[in-house]
Symmetry: C4
Subunit: 228 residues, 4 copies
Amino acid sequence: MGLVEQREGTEAGRLDAFVDGAFAFILTLLLIGGASIPDSAAKLLHALGGVPAFAACFFQVAFFWHGHVRWRRLCPRDEAAGRWWSLLLVFFALIFVYPLHMVFAGVFSWLSGGLLPSDFAPVGGPIDMRILFACYGLAYACMAGTLALLFVHAAGSSARQGLDNLGARREMRVWSVPALVGLASALTALLLPLSAPGWMWAIPGMMYSLLFLIGPVVNRFNRRYVPA
Amino acid sequence: MGLVEQREGTEAGRLDAFVDGAFAFILTLLLIGGASIPDSAAKLLHALGGVPAFAACFFQVAFFWHGHVRWRRLCPRDEAAGRWWSLLLVFFALIFVYPLHMVFAGVFSWLSGGLLPSDFAPVGGPIDMRILFACYGLAYACMAGTLALLFVHAAGSSARQGLDNLGARREMRVWSVPALVGLASALTALLLPLSAPGWMWAIPGMMYSLLFLIGPVVNRFNRRYVPA
Amino acid sequence: MGLVEQREGTEAGRLDAFVDGAFAFILTLLLIGGASIPDSAAKLLHALGGVPAFAACFFQVAFFWHGHVRWRRLCPRDEAAGRWWSLLLVFFALIFVYPLHMVFAGVFSWLSGGLLPSDFAPVGGPIDMRILFACYGLAYACMAGTLALLFVHAAGSSARQGLDNLGARREMRVWSVPALVGLASALTALLLPLSAPGWMWAIPGMMYSLLFLIGPVVNRFNRRYVPA
Amino acid sequence: MGLVEQREGTEAGRLDAFVDGAFAFILTLLLIGGASIPDSAAKLLHALGGVPAFAACFFQVAFFWHGHVRWRRLCPRDEAAGRWWSLLLVFFALIFVYPLHMVFAGVFSWLSGGLLPSDFAPVGGPIDMRILFACYGLAYACMAGTLALLFVHAAGSSARQGLDNLGARREMRVWSVPALVGLASALTALLLPLSAPGWMWAIPGMMYSLLFLIGPVVNRFNRRYVPA
């Protein structure tokens, strides 16, 4: 391993330490943000009622974090573009954490018929639903889009070094699905008329089931590019 | 060291960084959660009164963290199952921290006859004790059970590679003891009738003394499997 | 790699871990400090109004952090001077974070005609502007100056080992520009008479456009020292 | 490097990551604990008035952290004793942070004639001084004593491996000086009669000037044990 490679390895390691530390903070923020410190059994039960929403947020954030870990596997070199996209991912994650928690707390409270607590009270009716789904969808699209751009960069970097970039190109397609779904959900929430009946406000949330499209996209990529 | 092994080493290192950072956060949460910032000598004394409970929590959390460090020693490869069980351990630890602190603050306050402060006031009588011990026991069982599953995975992974997995199988048995004890204590707290006399509510707490069974379990394992 | 070099590598790595962790904290502080946790759509919108200021702060802090990463590349050995200057950089960063956020929140609120929220209300008129710009300028100059001193140390260390120190000497010049600009802006804010007309209080802010001088300084350095 | 050494290196690295992360948290706690987030120029000035006390705390904590870094240099192996003493050091540091900040804020406020703010108001007179100096002295002695024990362990470990342990034995003596000074100051504060005149309450603080004894202790050690 030459001196240049070793130096680049050190810098990549420091960027990773920064990203890992920031994601660990984000999860703690989720917990602190979602529950005050209980001092009686009733408050403890109330705080534990927030666990399903916390679990959903935790694994959602871990999913994006693991995307960055997979990116590093495909792009071990430290280059300026990878550095800036990584910082952008941390930046979006720090912003994403609040609408993320509000959406999941609301969904679990609604699914349990109000048994599970929700810190989010949609007092304003449809206009609140529009704001919440638009913010969530845009933040979701920004994070997935940044990951897609990281893999675009990894594919280009591997190609310039004359290496195989099939994995990076596959991941690029995988992450463009949630980016497009988030964008479509946010647009739907913004374009739905405020006079729409109540059940129609579930549509922007339902659209996230389109994430199942990741499977067919990967299959189509493998059929076309992966040698049998 | 081939390229695949090196890449897996990097990913294992990032998972460890994530786990270590999250556990360090959990300990800070314990401190922030257990004491407001003192601005007079009386408040400083009051805050220091919480030190015994903080010490008990600190070494309890460090005990689980060290379990994960020992797991990594036996399973240095990065595999999907190990990754998800590790994330689950962090998730349970973030939830565990509140009932943990409430139980220990209550125990030390009771042992000292109210001299040491307790943030937990069991105003509701038996129903509060039931909730507290049930939450604590379940959280305890979840953490120890996740560690047991991590070692199950390590044993399987070593066996598939044709390596000796005696250490992983021994740890698996070690961690199943606290998992079962926590579960039994939680069940006892849930099944005790609310009309039971006050002293009986100490039983779920006393059951943690069954942790001494770890010793005989290890001895029996060594007698049966370790060649003399 | 001899034993001494390996030991120095370990200590340099721990210093880096400390610096990276502290910078990750600083960014979280920025977020927590700049917005309370929203529990309604209106508060979420208000919190998102702080995103432009947060973005500016985030990339400003990341800029200084990356300066330290570049320093480590040029000075991989662990020496007492490098250690103390690094700790001083973290210390200034922890102090810098509050005036930084106040300045950017104020600027974005002013640029948007009050549409974006500002936590900083300059109720005191000119005297508040003076205090804010003086604090910001001094903190900015301290951070850039510490980075310049880190590169002075790196240049000296490389020269003592008989290595090429052109990169360190170039960075030294690069970082002295923001140090001088920050100092000049702080002095202007302190020397402007309080009776000056309102528009003159924009001068200390405008002076940061002098950062474009980094380009000519680097060009002049390259013409004089870099062999063609 | 054999497999055992490599595994021990990984575990030592994870312990270091834990210690470094916890110390970075402690410094952030210092900042959050010592100042509310300013939203006007007057509050910013007030917060900046806490910078001298923050600086003193920051470098005091960094001093103990660097003691642990020096210990790792002398004891690169991961052994149970080193692990538990390291965790104990983090535990004491988390407790130390509050009396540390109160003492320094009080000292700087007193030195500046009340110009610099102090979050600590000794409303109770002598009894408050006694509590504050006793807590600070004990916490100081615990941290320095833990470091001394870490070096006792490092000296024993090196001796068992047949290596030179002169450095560890020197550090052991260095750290026993602050441990004894802290203990003596705490005892003085506890034994001073509450009716003592006001100036006598400066004695426990003055006793920290005995730290200059580190110099003679090191010189005597070098004369006796280091071959000329």
